[in-house]
Subunit: 335 residues, 2 copies
DNA sequence: GAACGCCGTCGAAGCGCTTCGACGGGTGAA
DNA sequence: TTCACCCGTCGAAGCGCTTCGACGGCGTTC
């Protein structure tokens, strides 16, 4: 490992001069700066590691807490993580990966040891056990997802409530009068995962506003679950013509299951989903959808965190407005 | 952040005594140790962070380099990453996430700055640009995947060659005489990704050994690609009765495509896959498969790395033997 | 032409931790 | 009873880096 004293010797200056030349925190003559930079290049020096941390400086590391709970869609989470890493790198930070029970213990550890400068927290529940820790302020944080009480926190998310409303608005505008929400697996609601609950709220309130008949069905994943829920929908809501799906891996099997029941999409049934655009576009019937912009959320989260670290004030909640993209799965009722 | 001097004051001893009491590197009286431990508990002290690194000690961080190239199956990679984090935590380490172009730059950065003590490298190509860096020994490493020249490296992987053979052996034993391999997307082979190439080798050599007619078809993902490849197989290999699939997201669409062509599985066609057990089991026809044990690979990789860090000698290559699980997709020819 | 001030650089201190050498007191051996 | 030794503890030094205060030399200014 090349150290700052090596560079200093090579450039014929003192270590402190090297430090200043690189950080720009004090004026350094052009000539000297150039010599320092040359030495850095020749030796392949990179600051950081040990001394930096010891000197009370930042570690330039962001922690990313991803619980990886059951029922969450892996590709969405992964995409998010990847975009966080990319954004962090663009701000000269690295990313430390925290998972599982780590969710809580990990945040504490990071806060206590100063391993990371800040943390991004994913998969937030309405009442999240990690909130007290985060609110204590010992570690700057940004949450993906908005808990019930966001005071004193920084949150960013898709506006899932508006997303739910948007889907229903779209269906209502097409003349559908009976709509159902096929949601995430039951455990997700039991955990009170924020985004899932908010989507239900939006769905329900928009349906009420439009005076539609509506119902909500949490649902597991897989072909069997899809078949079961499809049959149940047909049985319990014979007049059903509009469906909103909030369950990525279920979209395709569900379309298939409706097909087996003789229901054509969008002829008999209009389908709307809240999911990543790629999933919606590659379904067996391309699905009209509200995109979940995981990549953008990741980027935003990092930006917010970096600004917080710089001491800037940031908004408490950033809710991205949902955007609906029409595809082949929706049509006017009776068309 | 509570520091070691806080603990020392609280316990009425010197900082060095605290350090020794916690590390056990020198004998400390029972009474003192107990007082130190009490102080640690009361104050919530955790060593690490700044000073540790500065004092030339290890950072207790492992880097994980996941290129996230196109054509790799995201859930497999993610599962792997999760198991690495869990295993690392069990050894009191944290995990730093490196992605993308980071693959190369990131490893260099980690090596130069001492950000992490070691690195686990995924998605290894036969000729990987990262190898020289790793062989230089500046940073202990373990590769997931075995490059063409594994000398001087530590590698762990499923024995994909044997996996390919095992699938063919199984089909041959069932009496199939014409077999095809539906592989990963073309770009994976172009990149010379080690595991994909090895599987092809195994497939081909076993087919030759059994004197079977065989062919290899790289294939993209999605329903359209599945349909196209199915039609092509039927056209080019009319006598085909055995198929090996090495392409997770294609398995289900492929089964469906064969169905559309009037080919029943396993009646007309026997299907074998190399994929995670969960994928094989939840396909629309449960598929006889050789499991890709991502979780175990992650755990193994961490174990190896930890032993390397401890100065122990570790084997150059660890190849996990493939295990084939019979499910509903294979049957004797003409049964 | 002398005093002032500023620019560019350096030395030293200090961050939190580990580790080496030393030291004091108790114990066992002679 | 004395000496030697060892056990348990401490102080100091040092890891690589940043930062503060200081200092020397130059250009200004009256």
């Amino acid at each position: 490992m090349v150290k700052i004293t090596d560079v200093a010797r090579r450039a014929g200056v003192s270590p402190s001069t090297v430090s200043y030349a690189l950080s720009g925190k004090r004026p350094i003559s052009d000539a000297t700066r150039r010599r320092v930079q040359a030495a850095v290049r020749e030796l392949g020096y990179r600051a950081g590691g040990g001394g930096r941390g010891a000197a009370g400086r930042r570690s330039q590391v962001l922690a990313l807490a991803v619980p990886m709970r059951s029922g969450v869609h892996v590709p969405v989470v992964t995409q998010f993580a990847v975009s966080v890493v990319a954004a962090a790198r663009a701000h000269d930070h690295d990313v430390l990966l925290l998972t599982q029970g780590e969710g809580e213990e990990g945040i504490g550890r990071v806060a206590d040891t100063g391993l990371a400068d800040a943390v991004i927290v994913m998969d937030v529940q309405l009442q999240d056990t990690r909130l007290p820790l985060l609110r204590s302020g010992s570690l700057p944080s940004v949450l993906i997802g908005v808990p019930a009480e966001p005071d004193g926190l920084t949150c960013v998310d898709l506006d899932f409530r508006a997303a739910g409303e948007l889907c229903v608005d779209h269906l209502a505008r097409l003349g559908h009068r009976v709509v159902a929400l096929v949601g995430s697996p039951p455990e997700v609601y039991v955990r009170r995962t924020a985004f899932a609950r908010r989507l239900v709220e939006g769905f329900t309130s928009a349906a009420d506003r439009h005076r539609l008949t509506s119902a909500v069905y949490p649902c597991g994943t897989g072909r069997d679950a899809a078949r079961a829920i499809a049959e149940r929908l047909v049985r319990e809501l014979p007049a059903l013509t509009g469906v909103v799906v909030h369950n990525e891996p279920l979209i395709d099997p569900l379309i298939e299951a409706f097909g087996h029941l003789g229901l054509r999409i969008p002829g008999d049934l209009s389908l709307t989903a809240v999911c990543p655009a790629s999933v919606a576009a590659s379904a067996r019937v391309p699905v009209t959808s509200v995109a979940v912009p995981s990549a953008e959320l990741g980027t935003r989260a990092v930006h917010l965190l970096v600004r917080k670290l710089a001491g800037a004030a940031v908004p408490q909640s950033t809710l991205l407005p949902p955007r609906l993209t029409e595809r082949a799965s929706t049509a006017p009722r009776g068309a």
